[in-house]
Symmetry: C2
Subunit: 390 residues, 2 copies
Amino acid sequence: MTALASDRALRGADSITDRLDAAIAATTFERPTLVLDLDIVSRNFQALQRGLGDASIHYAVKANPAPQVIERLAMLGCHFDAASRGEIELCLSMGARPEHVSFGNTIKRATDIAFAHRAGITMFAADAEEELEKIAEHAPGAQVYLRLIVEPTGADWPLTRKFGCAPARAEGLLAYARDLGLDAIGLSFHVGSQTRHARMWSDTLNQVAATWHAVLAAGFDLRLLNIGGGFPAFHGDDVDPLEAYSRDVMDLVRARFGDAVQIMAEPGRGMVADAGAIAAEVLLVSRKSDDDLHRWVYLDVGRFSGLAETEGEAIRYQFETARDGDESGPCILAGPSCDSVDVLYEKRPVSLPVSLRAGDRVVIRNCGAYTSSYSSVGFNGFPPLDVMVI
Amino acid sequence: MTALASDRALRGADSITDRLDAAIAATTFERPTLVLDLDIVSRNFQALQRGLGDASIHYAVKANPAPQVIERLAMLGCHFDAASRGEIELCLSMGARPEHVSFGNTIKRATDIAFAHRAGITMFAADAEEELEKIAEHAPGAQVYLRLIVEPTGADWPLTRKFGCAPARAEGLLAYARDLGLDAIGLSFHVGSQTRHARMWSDTLNQVAATWHAVLAAGFDLRLLNIGGGFPAFHGDDVDPLEAYSRDVMDLVRARFGDAVQIMAEPGRGMVADAGAIAAEVLLVSRKSDDDLHRWVYLDVGRFSGLAETEGEAIRYQFETARDGDESGPCILAGPSCDSVDVLYEKRPVSLPVSLRAGDRVVIRNCGAYTSSYSSVGFNGFPPLDVMVI
């Protein structure tokens, strides 16, 4: 067994990822490239369908807006969560029907709301009076769901308070939406990015259920619960398999909200992360001082060319090299730009072969989500992360 | 005096920035746009020339690679510090001569070194054995300067240890370069981004001078000191005017390194920051709870569409609105994306008019550096920061 194969076995890869590995092995890349396997996207969608049952699945386009991903998912009957006019146009151009695209950003330009309304989009997110006013003016009568703030859970990347209103404001905002002639159909929340186990949803669901039942009791006709994203990818720490995870989440949801409520989910990372790997290259290996225990390893991909989620060392990617059987030692990993914040892992160094050197290929696993779309237009003159779809 | 004019007076703007203000006032922007005034770039270059005397000025292209900026600076006789093959190609295509372009990234792809060598680039940065080996192989006989790590100073954004070698390694690396047939001509360092006063250079210069004189004493023929960047922009805290700042820095340099040494500087921010302002728009103003003291203000530009340097709230931009005379109050400022880390200022809120609302224009000052180039290719479906050059 080669070092790469042994590592694959460790992370539980199966035959479907062999296609991705084979494509990478067969290709000479001129620059860092995200290789994306549509069959893995299909498999993930089907696992989510089985797990989530009758919930509607709106893929969070921002996770990876590659047109081929949108097209494949539209073909499979997936719905979409769009953050902007640009994402709505993308979905519609790739075959999605407008009634299957929700405009899920709570911060929308008025002219983009008007565009969406003209394009046939019927469902909008909101969390504030002024947003409801904009929707009522530019998409009169539209369906809206209200985003709630929930208290942080154990997610790897808990969210800030940027989105949502305090639960105490929900009733007032729903009443305001009704007064504005909007159809206030439900509530939404986000459990936090990369919530690794279904059981970690319980506290959040309890918070939302308390608001939900209070609002129902106040006479509001809620029909939709949007449970957002949070579906995790494998990044070294144990995660539940997607289907079982989704089923367990739905069990927790149904126990609190009953069977009559329409459930909507917005997986992004869970849909595409493990469908992609980045083929990168080592540019330099060095030591800063003769007595340094760790080396610095510089890759041709960094925080400004695709690996933005290493900010604060939040998401820990897995690295594979052809030398993985050799003796290894701790490395600080950094990107290629002349920017001192373009360091990937320093507080918790990464163990890599001591034989590693400039020119070696590095494969970075589970990079299908939040990489190519975060890439800069060309910081330091490096082109954006290339994408190759298989 | 209008609120905008009064604010301009406060920050000491003069007639040359009126042209920028007039251009913004006369334009309807469909999306966030960086408006860049080439006359201010020229003025800054000339101030740097006067202050830096006979030093050669290599503009750090990464700060703003707008082709018109490169073209204007090449016309004025400025030299360039390029971080990549892409930036070298840009400079050469805009009229720079190859002997005036240094390849200043210490992390270079071997094929890019070969490209640069073929294109006539003669000067390369390095900080490690493997980098010297790559240069010797692909640009035989080239001039190299060695980047040193210096200890952090009082810069607003001190650098990490990503670049440079420990001073104790300098002699060994210079000897290695010589053995490889390279022309080891000098040393470089970086004092830290946004070093607001010339006097803050003293400690760093002392550190570098100690290494410099030790290496000279060991028989190495150093002829070049590259003092890097660090030239500051105005972001609310007091900074010295550019010409006086540069002159004071040169006095500190000459006192330690003598008059015979060739000095090279790499201003980026100092050259272009105040030449640009972003015309942005308020998308939403809200409160999360009825008893919140602060509001949330969401702009159509954020961390992923140009304002990357607000990471950690490091760089504090100045905001102007047409309502600046009205009563004001604390705001958390955030970008438009569905990303919870896309928050600009939260720990230290920004004071903005209480009358501010969706649709209002916001002008963000001194945004000419490190904005458009950091912008993502289209995160959340938002196009990259637009650039309008006047």
